[in-house]
């Protein structure tokens, strides 16, 4: 049945599916995992770094991009589609600042990106964008925000979410471990993001990239050393927790 209704984007199937949009969501699953966490005074974005070819310049393979000084996003899916969306969003951020003399709110830019994506699901001859995005930042009121958009053009606010390959596993981990305690401080929120990624990332710290935004501060990308030290701390804590457990059992 899908065969006759999945070629053109503008055609509904008899049971109400837009197959091209659903297939675009499959393209998102082919990208590596990205996780976003909204803490009390911090927002964290963590991504699984794709292994870079030997001769490739690592700086040009980035999954976390700043849209403005106070907003940044991570994506999963088709790289080229992401570049287009990011460029449009960046232009919109500046245009808004010049027109209204205020920086964009996180919700505004998310809505802009989502509207852009939806337009491509209802246009003749175009295909949907094959990316999902996690958009984080602080508004002027100082409240941290995390939004997720998907190829269909919907967007929702989240406390913590994951996109890309193995997103389900990471989301289940976050559902179990996102508590008031684990986001109480900035360092706890960062640790939670790294722990969530370590559930699915194969070779540990060296394949993780992390970015944070603190209130009234610009985007900060963690260096490989800082991530490695965080991973080492997490593993130490894990060992200690296991030792305690085995002591209790004995």
């Amino acid at each position: 049945m899908a065969a006759r209704y999945d070629r053109a984007i503008t055609v509904f199937s008899p049971d109400g599916h837009l197959f091209q949009v659903e297939y675009a969501q499959e393209a998102v699953k082919k990208g590596s995992t990205a996780v976003g966490i909204r803490g009390t005074d911090i927002v964290v974005l963590g991504v699984e770094k794709k292994s870079v070819a030997k001769l490739q310049d690592e700086r040009t393979v980035r999954k976390i991009c700043a849209l403005d000084d106070h907003v940044c996003m991570a994506f999963a899916g088709l790289t080229a589609d992401a570049r287009i969306v990011i460029n449009r969003a960046r232009v919109e951020c500046q245009s808004h600042k010049l027109t209204v003399e205020d920086p964009v709110t996180v919700e505004y830019i998310t809505r802009f990106i989502a509207t852009l994506k939806q337009r491509y699901t209802q246009s003749n001859g175009r295909r949907p964008f094959g990316i999902s995005a996690l958009i984080v930042g602080f508004d002027d009121d100082g409240i941290p925000r995390l939004y997720q958009t998907d190829p269909s053009g919907t967007y929702h606010a989240w406390k913590a979410n994951a996109i890309g390959r193995s997103a389900k596993t990471v989301r289940e981990f976050l559902e179990k471990n996102y508590t008031e305690g684990t986001i109480a401080t900035d360092s706890e929120a960062i640790k939670l993001a790294i722990r969530a990624l370590l559930e699915v990332v194969q070779s540990g710290g060296k394949n993780i990239e992390l970015a944070i935004i603190r209130r009234n501060q610009p985007l900060k990308m963690f260096s490989a050393k800082e991530i490695e030290s965080q991973v080492v701390n997490i593993e130490k804590e894990k060992e200690e927790a296991e030792k305690k457990k085995s002591k209790k059992v004995v």
Partner: protein, 269 residues
């Protein structure tokens, strides 16, 4: 000569028949037929599947299983199943290569099978050197066949929503004579098995050979660690007992395989 609707010229047989003409025309036709037959025969020969013995590089005249009778025959089809066998089963114990097959059909891009290097073999046969006793019994009696393969999860038909399926997952399908329990749930209707595994299972069913297929439904068709590890539950089965000695070496061997086979692609990030 006649022109078809699309303008191509087709040679048609003339309907004007005279007695003398008949013989000439028939000769012409049989000549064409002879050439056609020659071409067809050559193609048939090219398409023949040969099993080459590794040591001698000579084609085996008798079936492989008669040359090397065994009681356990394990076939892995597809990247993930092969990676599972290589890293979990074949990394312990000494396995020797006993034969390989190459085949050709019109869809292959190369012209000749003889020029294909050994690395291009489509199927390689291995035998466990350290336990020839395992492979002592006569063929077809006491023979048990295990098949491993993977398929994309979108081929799996179920009344549940596909979002709730946690791929990768294993399903099994066995022949009537296979008495042991499968190590995962059986493949439900209306799902069917395709291609080589289906052919092997059908053959085993007809000849009453106990056989079981473990089919892994996954959402990543290329070589992938998570999919390969989904095959792990079958290591406890009877067919694999005694074959897996050093389970600790497996993750290393597997990571090595995955990294060497990874094709660099920048389309998805």
């Amino acid at each position: 000569m006649a022109a078809t609707f699309f303008g191509e010229v087709v040679k048609t047989r003339s309907r004007a028949v005279t007695e003398e003409d008949d013989d000439d025309e028939e000769d012409a036709w049989t000549q064409d037929n002879y050439e056609d037959r020659e071409v067809r025969r050559e193609l048939e020969k090219k398409r023949e599947v040969e099993v080459l013995q590794t040591q001698t590089n000579v084609s085996l005249e008798i079936p492989l299983l008669e040359q090397y009778p065994c009681s356990k025959f394990i076939i892995a089809i597809g990247h993930n199943a092969v990676a599972f066998l290589s890293s979990f089963v074949m990394n312990s114990g000494a396995w020797e290569e006993v034969g390989s097959t190459k085949l050709w059909n019109e869809w292959c891009r190369t012209a000749e099978t003889t020029t294909l290097s050994p690395a291009d073999a489509f199927c390689v046969f291995y035998r466990l050197k350290s336990e020839p006793a395992v492979f002592g019994s006569s063929p077809k009696r006491g023979l048990q066949v295990t098949l491993l393969t993977s398929r994309h999860v979108t081929d799996y038909r179920t009344p549940e929503s596909s979002g709730s399926l946690s791929s990768p997952f294993l399903k099994a399908l066995k022949t009537q004579s296979f008495q042991d329990a499968a190590h995962c749930t059986l493949l439900e209707q209306p799902n069917i098995v395709h291609d080589l595994p289906a052919a092997v299972l059908s053959y085993c069913q007809v000849w009453k050979i106990p056989a079981i297929l473990y089919l892994c439904y996954t959402d990543i068709m290329k070589l992938d660690l998570v999919t390969v590890e989904a095959f792990k539950p079958i290591l406890c089965s009877k067919s694999f007992r005694g074959l897996v000695k050093n389970a600790s070496l497996s993750p290393e061997a597997l990571t090595k395989l995955v990294t060497t086979n990874e094709i660099q692609s920048n389309i998805y990030t």
